[in-house]
Amino acid sequence: MNKLKLWFTQTMMISFAILTGIIIEGLVYSIFGRDDLASFSLSWLQLLSIVLTGALCSVPTVLFLTDTDIPRKKYIVRIAFHCLGLYLIVSLFGWIFRWFTNLGGFIMVTVIFFLVYVFVWTVSIWLYKRDDKKINMALDDIRDEE
């Protein structure tokens, strides 16, 4: 996959994830009676901020995580930079587009960010391990004897 295509697909994925998060947040608020579901709406500025955040958050992925032929330790350092880069972008855009207005809101965004980041890596590693197990079992059936 070339880098431009990766950047575009990442932008779409991250934008969709943020949008889903906002919808879930709206649903939770309506369930607990803090908001009326019928009054839930998104302005064009909010939608623009979502797409912009998605587009900018894709840049660290293209910069740090596309080279897979590097040692494990180096890759982990790159993941740390990736995480930090994403956090800075989310914090900056959150401040510009007023996703939070006080320290409590900022802490909430920070907690959600790190939970999502850890969740995504945990699921990815779990999927890789599941694939390995399936492939190794299938290889057992066809392997040449030497």
């Binding site: 897979t68 590097i70 494990r72 694939d131 390995d132 299938a138 290889l139 066809i142 392997r143």
Partner: protein, 145 residues
Amino acid sequence: MRVHIEKVDSKDQEEAVIKAVEITDEISGAVELLEGDAKGFAVSQDGKTYILKASSVYYIESVDKKTFVYTRQGCYDTKYRLYELEVLLGGYFMRCSKSMIINLKKVRNVKSQISGRIDATLLNDEVVVISRGYAKEVKRRLGIG
């Protein structure tokens, strides 16, 4: 042994089912033939030309527009291009990166790295890399995709 041949519409649907009381040499030969292992192709080493059986190949690599074939015994070069060998050998021979074809029958195990690449340890203890983009094709070839 009775043989039934049923016509199908596409290459993906092609398969052979053999019902036998025991696996005889003839049946093993037929399986090898169907899977393409019995195919041979010309390779050269130190100026001498050999016909190499597909079943002895571990992996094939393209470096600087030259194609090298690796077996337990050593490395050979061939005039075939990678894409030609991919078509010629078929079966469990598959592209694992832009510049390599791997024989899945020679893979001892695979292990995914955190970066997403898959390290495949071969029966001769060499480790080759399967790009994550080819993982889906590996599973399809193994009938688990």
